[in-house]
Symmetry: C2
Subunit: 195 residues, 2 copies
């Protein structure tokens, strides 16, 4: 099965995603990825200079996808409350429909490695900044606002973990409704920084 370079590259990325999602970065060898794609190792090295670089590119691509989905969701909504909820919906949809991507991005040993962590952080930061800019509360500091934004991102991550753990199959809309209800009500209860 011969393929032109561009196609092969895409196939390798897709295959790598599956394998990394299943076994994690460290327990996956370049051989594993190559074999899963039906080729041999040197082919992989024709497209990616190293294992780390393959993984980094993968992370980047996945990260951009999530980032963009959420950004689009925000764009298609009106008013802080609805933007928030649509954003969460996009997030949980990503979790549901691109499970392997979600696992690689947030579940793998990703945060340990400085270079990989930077990729993940960029996504999280982008989401958090988006949320922060939608928090309209009088009398709180910029730093406090961002703190709350990260806490809200954490809510999504925490509840996702539980959904995965207990194999709940709640649809993204329900999850988003629940989380944004918690977040929105929480934000409305915030008093000015420093009591």
């Amino acid at each position: 099965m011969r393929l032109p370079a561009a196609e092969r590259r895409q196939q390798l990325l897709a295959t790598a995603l599956e394998v990394f999602a299943e076994k994690g970065f460290h327990d996956t060898s370049m051989n594993d990825v190559a074999a899963a794609a039906g080729v041999t190792k040197p082919v992989l090295y024709q497209h990616f200079p190293s294992k780390r670089e393959l993984f980094r590119q993968l992370l980047h691509e996945i990260g951009e996808q999530l980032r963009q989905s959420i950004a689009e969701a925000w764009g298609s909504a009106e008013g802080g409350r609805e933007e928030l909820e649509r954003g969460f919906e996009a997030y949980f949809e990503f979790l549901a429909k691109q499970h392997a991507s979600y696992t690689v991005l947030f579940g793998a040993g990703t945060r340990r490695d400085a270079e990989f962590a930077a990729e993940v952080r960029a996504v999280e930061e982008s989401i958090a900044e988006g949320i922060a800019s939608r928090i309209m509360i009088e009398g709180i500091t910029e730093e406090h606002r961002r703190f709350l934004a990260y806490a809200i991102v954490g809510m999504a991550e925490g509840s996702s973990r539980q959904v995965m753990l207990e194999h709940l199959d709640l649809d993204p809309r329900t999850l988003a409704a629940r989380v944004s209800e918690l977040a929105w009500a929480g934000l409305r209860g915030i008093r000015p920084t420093g009591h």
Copy 2:
């Protein structure tokens, strides 16, 4: 520097904590740990049967510490709101004062490995269950209650990450006050399951 077995074991665990916190599980060799402790590899193997087991025992010990700190905090408070806040305070105190432990428990590639993930999950579950049992809302399902509990655990994790990232040195009480304000207000705004 010869040491009796029990002391050596403790020293090795303490050393392993530091090294694993700095370099992560995969980038730390048994030699690294041994050398950092001022001994050679076989000594390590006299106390721990394998690298995995060393790490697992470490995780377990650390996990128990965090779990117990929070449980104590809950015990010393009265009323849901204050229990929640004291619990968060214990959590953020752990983050501040036992930074290496926090890093190993939540920051390392811990969640990828099934066996290691189980240790971390046990801690998280214990915290989440504690929170769930303190959520007094009429008309929500048990499953909804637990979902909210995990979301709240996520808040703590998310905001911790931001505190670490931006090197904020806010004291645990302030952090706890902010997070519990968000969580408590959020919970008060939850309507019965299913709108």
